[in-house]
Symmetry: C2
Amino acid sequence: MNNSMTEGSEPTLTDKFQRGNVLASSCPSRSILQDVTSRWGVLVLFALLQGTHRFSELRKAIAGVSEKMLSQTLHALEADGFVLRTAHPVIPPHVEYSLTDSGHEVANRVEELVNWIEVNINPILSARDKYSSLKSD
Amino acid sequence: MNNSMTEGSEPTLTDKFQRGNVLASSCPSRSILQDVTSRWGVLVLFALLQGTHRFSELRKAIAGVSEKMLSQTLHALEADGFVLRTAHPVIPPHVEYSLTDSGHEVANRVEELVNWIEVNINPILSARDKYSSLKSD
């Protein structure tokens, strides 16, 4: 993966002409970012890093997601090529969801963000308490 | 920062009892994740990595954001301790927004995700085209 721009170095010509720009509202990279960071998208990618899951297993793993929202989220991630849906031709139907190679790459980055938040939850909650007590003074 | 769990190693006792779990609906880490990955939150963090901005500069940098949504987003990120709001006592009022240390840490992870999407936009868009042509067959 080309990470040359993460360090603040000058973008190459290829970067300039071929990469997206999420700050521009018309750039399709923004809708991809929204699929990945949607309320349930981020949790589906995170959960699928643990391996292949059936729909019902995903619903159980991600507390609070409705059948409809999980279905919509999986469709969007499948359309972007991040999730592979495999339907086994058996009765009753057996459908499994897993990450593709690019799904793994994007999910790894989601995981780093999630892990950072999970590990740093206590100082963040302290900041929240401090903020709300300042605001109520 | 403790990143010991990102490599799939066994969590320590401290990790087990002190870190959040975004897959549990009642865990406050989930609402922090939502502030960070909200439609505009992710773009505000990304834009603030470039440095301190005034409100009007942020609105210009993030195409499409409304005054109301930018204000709500900045409030949420300020409450979590990620964004520092500095009001200079001058006339007319001069308010600046910047990342705190923890804001930098979380924004760096957002940036890695954004960069990956921006750099990989072409294969992702090809996957989308392939998916929609398969679905319309």
